[in-house]
């Protein structure tokens, strides 16, 4: 009888060892899965470009009409785009410019905001890889006088290190 009890105790010890292994495996699995999922950066540049293009359209239009007075005030190099449209094209995390904006009004002027004048952003607009700036183009028709005028807004945002694991 005593021998049987001893055997049972030894068996429980062996099973306890397996329980321990299973517990460790599950813990490592859950912790590493959570770390992998939340460790990867979330790329929000697509949304950021869309929001920015909407803000620019909102700035140059008024209930479907082209704000010709404001368009007249905007500089071709986009130097006063931030102040006129209430936008901030700077990011304290970067020393270089991370934004590119091109507003083209059909048969009218173009406003190109490219602080570094490098033109490097638009080179990547047809590139699907992640470690390049993200582009978004928007077309809107606005009323100028009695004509529907086509306005194209192209926005490109770099911010690679904040959105993609390098």
């Amino acid at each position: 009888m005593i021998a049987k009890i001893k055997n049972k105790k030894a068996g429980e010890r062996v099973l306890g060892f397996y329980w321990m292994i299973v517990f460790v495996i599950i813990t490592i699995g859950i912790v590493s899965a959570a770390a992998i999922f939340y460790g990867n950066l979330l790329d929000v540049r697509q949304i950021e470009t869309r929001i920015l293009s909407d803000r620019l359209i909102d700035c140059i239009s008024e209930n479907g009409k082209l704000n010709t007075a404001l368009i007249g005030e905007l500089q071709g190099d986009g130097s006063n785009l931030e102040s006129k449209c209430g936008l901030i094209f700077s990011d304290s995390s970067y020393t270089e410019n991370q934004f590119y904006v091109n507003i083209t009004i059909e048969g009218g002027k173009s406003i190109i905001f490219d602080k570094d004048k490098s033109g490097k952003f638009i080179n990547f607009c047809n590139d699907d890889s992640k470690k390049v700036p993200t582009c978004h183009s928007e077309t809107v028709f606005l009323l100028s006088g009695n004509n529907l005028q086509k306005v194209e807004v192209l926005v490109s945002i770099s911010k690679i290190s904040q959105n993609v694991k390098v």
Binding site: D43, Q46, I47, L148
Partner: protein, 161 residues
């Protein structure tokens, strides 16, 4: 009789159940390990292309924004001193359709495909368009109200070859 069975017979009965249980747990541990490996690799695969999505039910990367559509719709309604808007307000939807189709044809020539629906509170739904085409994602529709008629519009950039 196999060697394994003979060996088992030598083992006392109280220990046989322990061997069985240990075997079960060994297999269970291996199965759990494999499942965890699959779980971690699936997580790694899913998190690889983690991307924030705007809109309902999926990516809307290639479609025009709802705000841009709203501005275009307002411009169309206000054209010719609000001719189309007035026709819709007067309930002359057939005439509005003729005018709207003309404007949409112009817009299409300049590279933007748009569909507009006029939905009265009662009665049939009018769809303004220049040619049959694939319907747009319902999540990307802009809605405006003119009197008791709801206007919905959706646009996308024409694909250039």
């Amino acid at each position: 009789m196999s060697k394994y069975k003979m060996d088992l017979q030598k083992i006392p009965k109280s220990r046989k159940s322990q061997v069985g249980e240990t075997l079960t747990w060994t297999v269970a541990t291996i199965v759990i390990f494999i499942l965890i490996v699959l779980f971690v690799s699936a997580t790694a695969f899913l998190s690889k292309d983690k991307k924030a999505i705007l809109g309902i039910g999926g990516s809307v990367e290639d479609t025009e924004s709802v705000f841009a559509d709203e501005q275009t719709l307002l411009a169309i309604l206000e054209k010719d001193n609000g001719k189309i808007k007035n026709l819709i307000e007067e309930g002359k939807l057939n005439e509005a359709k003729t005018e709207m189709d003309k404007v949409l044809a112009d817009v299409e020539k300049k590279g933007l495909l748009c569909d507009i629906w006029a939905i009265p509170d009662k009665g049939i739904i009018y769809k303004f368009k220049t040619e049959p085409r694939i319907s747009f994602d319902i999540a990307n529709l802009e809605i405006l109200n003119v009197k008791d008629i709801t206007l919905q519009m959706s646009c996308e950039a024409k694909q250039t070859k």
